[in-house]
Amino acid sequence: MLRALLLTLSVTAIAHAELCKPDAQNAFKVRISIKTALGDNAYAWDANEEYLFKAMVAFAMRRYSSKSTTQISNVLLCNVTDRVSFWFVVTDSSKNVTTVPGSEVEAAIRMNRNRINSAFLLSDKTLQFLKITSTLSPPVEPSTPVWLIVFGVVLCLIVAGIVFLIVSGIQKHKKKNEESTERENLEEKVEVTLENGIPCEALDLKAGHVNGVFAADDERFTSL
C-alpha cells in the first residue's frame, strides 16, 4: 500500500517536472517586482503567496471557462528565483498529464487581470506575465477639450477690456470735442477783441474805420 502510494507520488512528481519547466509548452513566465511597487510596505514572497497565486489562476480559469473543474492543484509553479520570477502551467484534470492550451490560459488571465493584480496589490507593470500583453487603457477625454474652456475665458476678458477702453475713449473724445468747441467760441470772442473784430481785407487803409467797441464807450471819455 505504502509502496503504491510512493510510486504514484513519484510518478506525479516526475510528470509535473516534465510539464512545468522553463519554455515548456503552454507554460508562462511571471515576473513580480514587489519592492518597486510597494517600497517600504513590501511583503516577502513565500509559499503562502505562491498558494494565493495558484488560487487566483484557478479562479481565472473557472471564471473564463465556467466549468468548475480547475483545482488549485492543477496549477503548477516551478523555477522560483530570487528576482521574483517563476514559470507556471495549468494541467487538465480530465485528461491525464496534459496542460491546458496556452491560448485559453492567456484569455482567462486577460479577462481577470485586474482581480489578479489587486490580490497582490500590484499593477500590470509590476506583475508581469511575459507573453501576455496588457491592453492599454484609453486616455480619459473630457467632452470639451480643457484648453478651449481656458481660451474662452481669456478671450472674453480681453474683448471686455478692449470694448471698455474704446468706449471710454469715445466718451473722452466727445467730452473733449464739446469742451474745445466751447473754448473755440470763447477764443474767437477774445480774438475778436484783440483784432478789433475787423477782418483785415475790409480795412480801408486810407479812410479808416469806426471802431465799434470803442465807439460804444464814447460817452465815458471826457472831452478834451
Binding site: S33, T81, L136, P139, L155, L165, G169
Partner: protein
Amino acid sequence: LSATPEIPKEDGRPKWDNKFQYILSCIGFAVGLGNVWRFPYLCQIHGGGAFLIPYFIALLFEGIPLLHLELALGQCLRKGSIRAWNTISPYLGGVGVGSWMVSVLVSLYYNTVLTWVMWYFINSFQEPLPWSVCPLNENRTGFNEECYESTAVNYFWYRKTLNITPDIAESGTLQWWLILCLATCWAIVYLCTIRGIETTGKAIYVTAIFPYLVLTIFLIQGLTLPGATDGLIYLFTPNLNTLKNPRVWLDAATQIFFSLSLAYGGLIAFASYNPTKNDCEKDAVTVAIVNSMTSLYASIPVFSVLGFKATTAYWDCLDRNIISIINEFDLPEESIMRQNYTSWISFLNSSYPEKIAGLKLKSCNLQEFLDQSVSGTGLAFIVFTQAIILMPGSQAWAILFFIMLFSLGLSSMFGNIEGVFTPLLELQIIPKSAPKELLSGIICLISFLIALCFTLGSGSYWIDIFDRYAGSVPLLVITFFEVIGVVYIYKIKRFSKDVEWMTGRKLNLYWHITWRFISPLLLLIVFTAFVTLQMQKPPSYTAWNPKYEGFPMKEEKVYPPWVQAICVLLAALPCVCVPLVALFHLVKQKRRNKDPSFVPPEVFSCQGPNS
C-alpha cells in the same frame, strides 16, 4: 510771448506718468525672450564663466554707448524715428525708414512666438499635462508611432502645436488652433497699446515686474532640485581657452547688441515722450546694466533646471540598464543600486560577457546629458517642458513658466509696436481728428492678417528665417549709420552740447571716445565677421521629417533658391532704404537748387523752440 528754454512747452505730445514708467518700459523692451533662452546657451557653449569677459567688454564699448545715443537722440528731438532722422539730416531719413521697417518685420514674427507660448499656457491646465503622455494609435494596440520613436514632448511640439511639414516648400494648411491663439495675442497687444504709451505705461508695471518674481520662484525651486548644483557648476566653470576662438567674441558682441533692442526705433520713441531736461546718461547706463544682470539672473534657474533634467535622464538610463540586468540574471530586486552599478557591471562583464553584450546596454554618462545644449524655442518648449513634467505639481510650474515667457515677450512687443506706431502717428497717415485707437487697431489687424502665414505647417521654418535675416544684419547696418550720422553729420560738438543741456553736466571723455571711434569700428568688424560667417556655407535648416531614416534626428536641408532670395530680400530691404532715401533727397535738392524762391530750413537745435 517769448518762452525761455527752461519752461516746458505744452506741445500736446503724450508723456510718461512718471520716470519709473519710462525706465521700466525701456527695461521691458530690452529684457525679452533672448535673455532667458539665448544667453544661458551662449554661456554654456562658450566656456561658462569665461564668456562673461567678452560679454562685459562688449557691453562697455558697444552696448552702453549705443543705448545712450538712441535715448539722447529721442529725448532731444522729441519725435519718432522717421521724423527724428529727417530732422537730423534729410539725407539720413532712410535710417528712420529702415528702423521702422525692421520693427514691422520683427513684430510680425515675434507675436507668433508668443502665440506658441499662449498655446502651451492654455494647455497647462490639464491633468496630466498633454506633453507628458503619448497618444494611442488608431487600433489602441500601442502608442502613436511618431511619438513613440521620438519623445512625447517632441511629439506635442512638432505635431500637436506646429503640425510641421517635412520641408519648407510644403506649406501645409492653416492650423486653426494657432489662428485662435494668434488672434488672442494680437487682441492682447491691441488692448495694451490701444492709446500708445497711455495704456502701455500702465500695462508695463505688470509685464516688466512679473517675470522677475517668477524667475525668483524658479530660482528657489530650482536650487532645491537634485542635480541642480551639477548644472550650475557645469554652466559657470570658466574655460579660458575658449576665448582664443574669435567666434566667442562675435557671439558676445551680437548678443549684447540684439539683447538691448537697438535700431528698432522703439527706444527713440520711448525717449521722445520724456521731458527734455532728463538725465539720459544715467538712464542708459541703468537700462543696460539691468538687462545684463537679468540675463545672468535668468541663467541660474535655467541651468538648475537643466542640471536636474540631465541628472534625471542619467538616473533613468542607469535604472533601465539595472532592470535589464536584474531580469536577465534573475537577481533579487534592489541588489544593484545606482551606486554599485559600475562594480556590478565590471564583475558581470568578466564572468558573462556574451550575456551582457546581448543585453545591448546604453552607456550612461552624466556629462553627455549635460552637454545636450539647446537654445531658443527648443529650450522652452522641449527641454524645459520635459523638466517640468518631472517636478512635483507640474501644472503650477508650467503655468508660471509660460506666463513669465508671455510677459517677457509682451513687454518687448510694446517696444516693437511703439517703433511702428509713433512714426505712423507723426506722419499723419490717418487724419488728426481720427482717434489714436483707430491707428493702433489698423496696425494690429493688418499685422494679424499677414502673420497668418506663420500659422501654416511650414510657419516655424519661416520664423527662423525672419529671425536670422530680418532681425540681425539690418540692425547692425542701421545702428552703424545712426552712429556715423550723429557723430559726423549732425556733428558730435553740437550733439554733446545738446546732451549737456539735457543732463546738466559735461559729456564724459568715455562717451566721446566710444561714439567717435570705438563703437563704429566695432560695429563694422561685427558686421563683416557676421556676414562672412553666414556666407561661408549655403544657408541650411533642420527639418522634422518622420520619414527620415535618422528619425528622431532632424534632417539637414538646404534652402531652395526662391527661399534664399527671400532671405536676401529680408536682410537687404531695410538696409537699402538708407542710400535710397539719401539719393531721393539728393535729386529733390538738385531740383530745388534751380528754384530761386526756395528758403533753406533753419538749423535744428535741442535747446531752442522746436521747429
